[in-house]
Amino acid sequence: MLPKLSAIMIFLLFFTFSGTVGAEGGHQHGTGQGDSHQQFQIPKPTSEPMPDMTPEEHQHMMNQGTEDANASSGAHGHGQQTYEETGPNWPVLGTFAAINLAFICIGIWNKWVRRKEVV
């Protein structure tokens, strides 16, 4: 029973964390009101004008996007983009630690505690 449960847990874990990562990454795609805790996605230029933009502003934005793209693809201008440095995301790292610790505790329980009970 326990191995089956663990297999389900592992799958859930995979998809849950994909979701967590996605939710955090999603801030970057949103309205920009996220806390930028995770610098996940280099914002992709969009061809869609923002609702309150004039056509000229939109054209300027698109040109700017092209210039940025050229800057990063030509002459190896890597790392030219500015990044807002953020610290580690302790809740996420803590969750990873807790799940791994839980697995290890189950392992210790199985190997040492339960085996002693059987003996």
Partner: protein, 443 residues
């Protein structure tokens, strides 16, 4: 028949592989580097071009690992920090339960699925461009390793869930190295210690029985069988690249599917890094009527993967009409393996761009760990040089795939195998076209 060279006949190599230093010395070195990488990815700078973890993972390791698969088979899997973690956990607290039937039956399909999901996630959430994203990806994999190792025997994760393991298995089939038993010795063996292990050495972590093993797809070259075999039956020999693809006894649809999917993934990896990607996105936007990147990318992604799968299926359908004694599925699966050399070529050529045009980032970011700040041009070669090398690699892949078609088709006439030759040429041309367009960098 003349026996091929056996590297284990060289006393120094045999002594080293039988010693406790192999593969531990490599495993611990990889473990130390991996730990530093994960730590820096999760806590260091969010600027990918300045992050040691990003440059080590995506500029150095990812481009180099397919080369290892060609030259040394799945040796990387023996060294892999995830595998080592699994070994430690199982030794200390593992329950060693048998692999669930579900994983045994559908493991390879799950690997295919994970590979597709991970690539999709990368594009939606920018895992490669984000040190944090890369760090979390490695931590997710680590957690899966810990979870499986606590319960299941041997390297269940590597064999049935690791997406890189699936890739490694497919690529290693085309590799230049093989580990096999000596049939004359193995047929009299009563111990089966290569599979079961002995008091000192664990049995094969990949569930292989050397006596019947006819593929390098599941051999990590961990040396356990070399250590445990009481009869010195194990041979490690060089072989012709792609030779394993020519006579696979039990071809499986999941392998052929993965081979075609990898081609699609290489396409999508290339396309999204090209300057025309924005135009393609705009084209998809005009059809879907939405600018939501996830939707438009998913459509492009699915189409990219369906293209090689569809072309392979179509070719199988055409040839089935010519060869009435065969079925479409049979031809799809048999000739699907012939795509592997082109997969490898596409993967290598794509990543060659990154390692040659961003390679110095690895050095700059490594010395920055010791407080030395270096800046400057990251490239090791000019874009035109890289392009010529990319074309050469694709041509080599085409030769490998074309020759595999010839051998899988039992050296059939040119006319008989023409549909498959045409498919391989078409895939090679598509790769070459994508490499001819300017590409953006990872860091």
């Amino acid at each position: 028949m003349k026996q091929p060279l056996n590297f284990l006949d060289i006393p120094l190599i045999q002594k080293f592989i039988k010693s406790r230093w192999y593969p531990g010395i490599f495993q611990w070195a990889a473990m130390v580097v991996f730990s530093i990488m994960v730590y820096i990815l999760a806590t260091g700078t969010v600027n990918p071009s300045k992050n040691f973890g990003t440059s080590m993972t995506w500029v150095l390791w990812w481009p180099v690992v397919p080369v290892l698969f060609i030259v040394l088979g799945r040796f990387w899997c023996a060294v892999c920090p995830f595998g080592k973690t699994s070994d430690i956990i199982r030794k200390l607290i593992g329950s060693e339960k048998p692999v669930p039937k579900f994983l045994k039956k559908y493991g390879l399909w799950l690997i295919d699925l994970f590979f597709i999901i991970i690539t999709w996630s990368d594009h939606i959430w920018g895992v490669v461009e984000s040190p944090r994203g890369s760090g979390y990806l490695l931590l997710i994999l680590l957690t899966m390793v810990v979870g499986t190792s606590v319960f299941y025997e041997r390297r269940t994760f590597c064999k049935t869930l690791c997406f890189l393991g699936g890739l490694a298995g497919n690529y290693s089939r085309a590799g230049m190295l093989e580990l096999r038993g000596t049939p004359e010795i193995c047929k009299n063996c009563k111990t089966q210690s290569c599979f079961k292990g002995n008091k000192e050495t664990e049995g094969c972590p990949m569930f292989q029985y050397v006596r019947t093993m006819d593929t390098s797809a599941d051999c990590n070259l961990c040396g356990n069988c070399v250590k445990s075999c009481p009869n010195n039956s194990i041979r490690i020999s060089p072989r012709k690249p792609t030779s394993e693809l020519w006579g696979i006894k039990n071809p499986k649809s999941e392998h052929a599917f993965l081979a075609a999917v990898i081609m699609g993934i290489v396409f999508v990896q290339n396309i999204t890094m090209l300057e025309i990607w924005q135009e393609i996105l705009q084209g998809i936007e005009s059809v879907t009527g939405t600018s939501i990147y996830a939707i438009n990318f998913t459509i492009a992604y699915v189409l990219s993967m369906l293209l090689p799968i569809g072309l392979l299926w179509l070719t199988a359908k055409i040839t089935t009409k010519q060869w009435p004694s065969t079925t479409v599925k049979e031809n799809f699966v048999r000739f699907g393996y012939a795509i592997i050399p082109l997969d490898l070529a596409g993967h290598l050529a794509h990543n060659l761009f990154h390692i040659l045009t961003e390679g110095k980032a690895v050095w700059f970011n490594t010395v920055s760990l010791f407080g030395i700040q270096l800046t400057g041009d990251l490239s090791l070669a000019s874009t035109s040089t890289v392009q010529v090398l990319q074309y050469l690699i694709v041509v080599l892949g085409l030769v490998g795939s074309g020759y595999s078609v010839y051998r899988i088709g039992n050296k059939g006439s040119f006319g008989k195998l023409l549909p498959y030759y045409s498919l391989m040429i078409l895939l090679a041309i598509m790769n070459m076209y994508l490499f001819s367009i300017p590409m953006s960098h990872r860091v």
